[in-house]
């Protein structure tokens, strides 16, 4: 038999707490970062003028750098998606010996200092094995120079961007239910058909996100390009290295103008691909 309550519940000790302190703390902490990013953009914008921006954009070497940046970023993002799609799928779906090791290996470019990546690429192409060098072989056999030429920019960007794309697509495939592919196999599909007909259409938004991240990361790539490609105007100068060159010769206004251009490009690509992502979401 239960005992009667010793006393009536006190109405004075309980009071509804306001949600305001919680929401204010969340907005205060989260908003501080948004404010910092906004201030960075505003600082660049107020330090330059439309005249400086126009002058910088009319320079032939900057126009060449803009074109080269757009081409190399797009190419390295496509290449990243090309390798990330199969590798992320395998890491997500298959359990095989060495999976853990591969998982760590593909993350290495994310944590390595960028200059180390550039140096490693330089070593790879100029390592002498009994007098045989990859760079010399590519030049002699295919007339395809890499180091200090445009392919080196794409490769330097690709090494880092592929790692981001693999990570993004791995999360995408982890979220797609593998049971649908299993059922497709009972309906007559091979594993390949199940992947292309059932899994891949569901991965389209993730692929667009991976492409966006890869493109944006390639746009900001600097360290490996500096070491592996150099910064020769009209040949290997991209926007990130153009800023470095302009700063080096004391053209601060020009460097800021190029920075603003890069911000505008990044925002434009992010907005376009975000809209595409919303449009393709099931």
């Amino acid at each position: 038999m239960s005992n009667p309550p010793q006393s009536e519940p006190s109405t004075r000790t309980f009071r509804h707490r306001s949600d305001f302190p919680f929401l204010a703390a969340m907005w205060g902490l989260g908003g501080s970062y948004v404010l910092l990013v906004l201030l960075l953009i505003i600082a660049d914008a107020v330090r330059t003028s439309p005249r400086h921006l126009g002058e910088a954009l009319l320079k032939p070497e900057i126009q060449a750098a803009v074109l080269l940046t757009l081409k190399t970023c797009t190419l390295s993002a496509i290449l990243s998606l090309w390798v990330a799609l199969p590798l992320a799928y395998l890491l997500s779906r298959q359990h095989f010996p060495g999976r853990f090791l591969i998982d760590i290996l593909v993350d290495i470019p994310l944590v390595l200092p960028p200059l180390v990546l550039g140096l490693s690429l330089l070593m790879l192409f100029h390592l002498s094995l009994d007098g045989w060098k990859l760079e010399s072989w590519l030049r002699a056999s295919f007339e395809f120079p890499v180091t200090y030429h445009v392919p080196s920019i794409v490769l330097a960007q690709f090494v880092v961007t592929a790692s981001f794309a693999i990570r993004t697509l791995r999360v995408t495939f982890d979220r797609i239910d593998p049971r649908a592919e299993d059922v497709a196999r009972t309906l007559g599909c091979s594993r390949g058909q199940a992947f292309f007909r059932v899994c891949l259409p569901q991965a389209v938004p993730g692929m667009l996100t991976a492409f966006t991240i890869a493109w944006a990361r390639a746009l900001g790539e600097f360290g490996p390009i500096l070491v592996f490609s150099g910064t020769t105007p009209f040949r290997t100068e991209v926007l990130s290295t153009a800023i470095y060159l302009e700063l080096g010769i004391g053209h601060l206004e020009s460097a800021i103008a190029i920075s603003l251009l890069m911000i505008a490009l990044a925002v434009l690509v992010l907005v376009i691909l975000r809209c595409l992502g919303d449009w393709t979401a099931p």
Partner: protein, 214 residues
Amino acid sequence: MIELHNVTIRAGTFILQHLSCQIPDGCYAVLMGRTGTGKTTLLEAICGLRTVQAGEIHLQGKRMTQARPAEREIGYVPQDLALFPTMTVREHLEFALRVRRWPITALKRRVDELAQLLQIEHLLARRVPALSGGESQRIAIGRALSFQPSLLLLDEPLSALDEETRDQVQLLLQKMHQATGVTVLHVTHNRREAMQLADRLYLLEAGKILCPEE
């Protein structure tokens, strides 16, 4: 006819050993068993999604133990249905037929037949997120039946439905079985459902398949 001879299946640390049974052609067989006894594991092994460690599986007299799922010609409706989120209902019904490269006129005729049988004509243009539980169940059954398999495996097809929808889908399953004559192996832990549907009842208990009628 489905025949299992001393089949052993391993799923992680869980193991089913020396399972044997025979299900005659055209029979509506119901397999009962408590949760965790390995009913789903057994269905996955029969349709080729899980490797059989030992023993033999024969379908229509052919040895299918190591055959790929696509070669077994089995319609499978998993418990979670696993519908394809990017496809319409019509695309679900056409899926297996397109993989088999059916001519377009035969394909359209088959989709119309199925839509009529399952009473889903009005849903053909809809996508998966816009379907209710009972509608999703019908689409999963239609998708599995589309290529006219000799065997249909149903993994607790009524468990996630409310009572009214459950009665409707149960009637539909009986109607479908009468119309197609397909051999069905239906897994459930609901005794009432089993009694109402089964031509033949099997029990999975303590790692063995028992057939009380034999």
